[in-house]
């Protein structure tokens, strides 16, 4: 896969770079090595570098959040005091919740994988507003610092939901934590805004809405939620801070406020937020399963539109968090009925993924293993959601460990598993290096076992009436808690293993192929790691995102796929002559892009045919 570039004035560095040498040269001049020095990373406008910086930041936060989780599980190993007193325990589970939700899983897939892959899948050079993208990352760092400030002062002990009047009357540092979440809200809005404009305006010629990869559909749906829901979180947290500072009496009942109104404000954001967490995971799985089954996705339209359906319906259901909070019966009925509507698009996705695997050629590499793990774990998570959506059942199960198990199955089992699958899938593209496949498969198994061992006992605990956020519990629940704590440590071990072999892979030589998995979306037409400008011109798209599997053949020494050479036609450019004419006069397809040279060409003779003369303007 060659990529020859022409002279162009690179706006990033302001100086025009001479025409870099061809194939291997392009790879040495990748986005990682294009600029040197810390400043070139901190003030970069390149979406790929921003994606990598998000990866480092989010993974550090994930480590901190994970350590807190292990501390909580150790405390709960024995009834009564094991490690810490009640106040510290409350602060720990609040921080575990706040860090995991606001710092890790909401930015998670969109900010890391989305930032890295979206422009490349669009055949674009960058997202629509690169500076806004950088501002989003800096706001993430600022928000994280505020959470650290809250930790340093005296960590908030209100739970990540900050329910009033507890949050307005406790003496712990609630304001830094809420202000941190407020800033992280803007970081999320900017990412969403960027993705919507990019998908609308930067699509290459020929890529209509139904020729877009499903990962972009899911990022589009997520961006809609981020843009429409996060502002309400902003105003809620501002009101909470004002309530603490000036006793404005909106949420504090002693001053005429209404705590249930706070719950409405909070959950109006927080339920769509759980779809911000899971919809990108659907997108990643919709990319992995067809690529590793070597077969076109089944029911593309249904999957694409079901992402949108989930995004829109997500705004009508927030009341199912409040069935036992004093919410009226009428509102409860409305919310419960609408909650069940969301189960349908989710079920469609699962059935379509399984139908994709039917009669495919399935390769069980690590990304596919994570996808299969996702299918099992997410189905359990989704179905237990139906328990909690049923009003009479929720009365018993609300605020018990059943809820804790449900959302960990969906977030931990859903988002984080899909994130790891996506990370392994795009790792060669990100760093140009492959990871140790055997170790990766073992780690996937360990994570899968740890996950189920940690959270399945919690379903039983919850059903038997163990309330959540309990520092101490009745002796009858002991052995289930111990089972769960052991599972938590296995899960932690799985993540440590993953981190070790992934970081170790960074020291390997840059020898990853441009298309190691034989996928047919645009980012795989670029070398690994890709040049800083991605495509010189937008590639012309003539087929769906999952149509090209039979035209790619695996080259052993390259460890990757290349287009199948057509003998005799046009020097093996892979397109029969009659097709070429038909393409040339396509009216300029939507996406408002100029048809232009596609730097991609057949490996054998591309150097001569598309080499640009040096004196290009």
């Amino acid at each position: 896969m060659t990529s020859t570039t022409t002279v162009m004035n690179s706006p990033l560095t302001g100086k025009s770079s001479a025409s870099p040498p061809s194939f291997d040269g392009a790879r040495s001049d990748s986005y990682l090595t294009h600029d040197r020095g810390l400043a070139s990373w901190i003030f970069t406008l390149d979406h790929k570098r921003i994606g990598i910086m998000y990866l480092i930041g989010v993974m550090t936060a994930f480590l901190v959040g994970g350590v807190f989780a292990l501390l909580i599980r150790t405390e709960l190993f024995f009834p009564g005091r094991t490690l810490m007193d009640a106040q510290t325990y409350n602060q720990l589970f609040t921080l575990h919740g706040a860090i995991m939700v606001f710092l890790v899983i909401i930015p998670g897939i969109p900010a890391i994988l989305g930032n890295f892959v979206l422009p490349m899948q669009l055949g674009a050079k960058d997202v629509a507003f690169p500076r806004l993208n950088l501002a989003s990352f800096h706001l993430w760092v600022l928000g994280a610092l505020f959470l650290v400030l809250s930790m340093v002062l005296s960590a908030a002990d209100t739970g990540w939901t900050f329910y009033t009047p507890y949050s307005t009357t406790t003496s712990t540092a609630v304001i830094p934590a809420t202000f941190g979440a407020f800033i992280l809200g803007f970081s999320s809005i900017f990412t969403g805004l960027n993705f919507i404009v990019s998908i609308h305006k930067l699509r290459p010629p020929g890529m209509g809405w139904y020729r877009m990869p499903l990962f972009l559909w899911s990022l589009y749906a997520t961006a809609i939620i981020q843009v429409l829901a996060t502002p309400v979180l902003g105003i809620t947290l501002l009101l909470l801070i004002a309530e603490r500072l000036f006793q404005i009496g909106i949420f504090d009942p002693a001053l005429g406020g209404d705590p249930v109104l706070y719950e409405h404000f909070f959950w109006f954001y927080s339920h769509p937020a759980v779809y911000i967490m899971i919809v990108p995971a659907f997108g990643v799985i919709s990319e992995i399963i067809p690529a590793f089954s070597r077969k076109r996705i089944f029911g593309y339209k249904f999957i694409a539109l079901s992402s949108l359906a989930i995004a829109v319906l997500g705004f009508f259901v927030w009341g199912h968090h409040m069935f036992t909070s004093g919410q009226s019966v009428l509102a409860g009925t409305l919310f419960s009925a609408l909650t069940f509507l969301i189960a349908i698009p989710t079920a469609i996705k699962v059935f379509n993924w399984i139908a994709t695997m039917y009669k495919g050629r399935i390769h069980l590499d690590t990304p596919m293993l994570y996808a299969l793990a996702f299918l099992w774990v997410f189905t359990i998570g989704g179905l237990t959601g139906i328990f909690l959506g049923t009003m009479s059942i929720d009365v018993h199960l609300h605020d018990t460990y059943f809820v804790v198990a449900h959302f960990h199955y969906v977030m931990m089992g859903g988002s984080i598993t899909a994130f790891l699958g996506g990370l392994h899938y795009w790792w060669p593209k990100m760093f140009g290096r492959t990871y140790d496949e055997k170790l990766a498969r073992i780690a996937t198994g360990v994570v899968f076992v740890g996950l189920n061992l940690t959270f399945f006992p919690q379903f039983i605990l919850g059903a038997r009436g163990m309330p959540r956020r309990y520092y101490d519990y009745l002796p009858e629940f002991t052995h289930l808690h111990q089972l769960s704590s052991v599972g938590a440590f296995i899960l932690g071990a799985g993540f440590v293993m993953t981190a070790v072999y992934l970081i170790a892979s960074l020291r390997r030589p840059i020898n990853a192929a441009a298309n190691p998995w034989g996928a047919s979306t645009l980012e795989w037409t670029l070398p690994s790691p890709p040049p800083y400008y991605n495509f010189h011109e937008a590639p012309v798209v003539t087929a769906g995102p999952y149509d090209g599997y039979e035209d790619l053949i695996y080259v052993e020494n390259l460890q990757g796929y290349v287009p199948r050479p057509k003998d005799g036609a046009e020097g093996g450019s892979g397109v029969p002559p009659e097709k070429r004419a038909e393409i040339a006069n396509t009216s300029k397809p939507p996406g408002v892009r100029e048809p232009g040279v596609n730097a991609d060409g057949d490996q054998s003779d591309s150097a001569t045919e598309t080499q640009k003369p040096g004196e290009e303007a």
Binding site: D126, V232, F246, G249, F265, T525, G548, R580, P595, N598
Partner: protein
């Protein structure tokens, strides 16, 4: 073949043309093809940002609506202290600044640089005017102690505050008559005689202010400094029974200050944007080929005006 295919015929001319466009338009970012493409992307971007602003204020409008429907007496009492004349003047000022903003966009599109500068300066001046009037209103409220939360200690008896007196001119003299009536009633009860002739007086004005508040109002430092005393509930905030004020009257001023304050912050942000645009206009960046930022700055400004258009009747007019 994978999703992409190779060169359509005659592509070389296209890519030369592409680079030519980039040479002509210095402000055209490398990942856009034409100025129109960059402009439309920017327009879509600013509209999405305006959507987030609308939803940001949605929270406040929701809090307003809920407290208005459930505690109308608080709003009826509270809004008497807002001077609709100042609010009206502010609305006119913001509408004019919207006009000058729209005019600025027109001048940028046509390329009249001097007129563009005049319009931007006018918009900034009007914005400062708006903030000036806001300052007058706020200082008036600070002076009278009509502040949110535990600072809520009206510094004069309810009916002596001039804006209240402006609405109820007869209130003051009624107050003395009522106090005299109360005193005579107590004397009468002591001596066992019934008292029935003063129903009209009592009906118009609420019962007398208890002595405890009178002594609280006397000391000037009733308004404590703004400090995070989340942990310690201040007794003064406990609503005073039997006062002319309804219970939880301070909630009105909480909503008033939060809404107009947040709107004021957006006006200040708007001023900063306009000053930045003014600097770039003077530097000669904007012309018929590149006027995006002016258009988007004006769109944001129109939204700030739009929010005030709804704030004005909701807070100042509705009785």
């Amino acid at each position: 073949m994978s999703q992409t295919i190779v060169t359509p015929i005659g592509a070389n001319a296209e890519s030369e043309h592409l680079d030519a466009i980039h040479q002509e338009n210095p402000h055209l970012a490398h990942h856009y093809d034409t100025p129109r493409h960059q402009y439309e992307a920017g327009k879509l971007g600013i509209w999405i940002f305006l959507v987030t602003e609308i939803l940001f204020f949605a929270g406040l409008f929701c809090a307003y609506t809920i407290y208005r429907t459930e505690r109308p007496e608080v709003f009826n009492w509270g809004h008497q202290f807002l001077d609709w004349r100042l609010g009206g003047l502010n609305t006119i000022i913001l509408l004019t600044s919207s006009l000058t903003a729209a005019w600025a966009v027109r001048c940028a599109q046509i390329g009249y640089r001097r007129a563009l500068i005049v319009n931007i300066v006018a918009t900034i001046a009007l914005a400062f005017g708006f903030l000036g009037i806001k300052y007058v209103e706020y200082s008036h409220k600070f002076h009278e102690g009509l502040l949110p939360g535990h600072h809520f200690a009206p510094s004069e008896e309810a009916w002596e505050i001039e804006s209240f007196r402006a609405k109820h001119p007869h209130a003051a003299d009624l107050a003395e008559a009522l106090e005299a009536y109360q005193a005579s009633r107590e004397k009468a009860e002591k001596s066992g005689k019934a008292h029935h002739d003063a129903k009209a007086v009592e009906g118009q004005i609420a019962p007398v202010v208890p002595s405890r508040l009178r002594e609280l109002l006397r000391n000037p430092e009733a308004t404590q400094p703004l400090v995070d005393i989340g942990a310690i509930r201040n007794p003064e905030v406990e609503p005073q029974e039997g006062l002319l004020r309804p219970k939880y009257a301070h909630v009105f001023f909480s909503i008033y200050f939060f809404m107009t304050g947040l709107h004021g912050i957006h006006v200040i942000a708007g001023i900063i944007v306009w000053i930045w645009l003014l600097r770039r206009t003077i530097a000669g960046h904007f012309g018929p080929k590149f006027f995006g930022p002016i258009d988007f700055g004006a769109l944001y400004w129109h939204l700030v005006d739009l929010i005030w258009i709804f704030l004005f009747p909701l807070l100042y007019l509705v009785s």
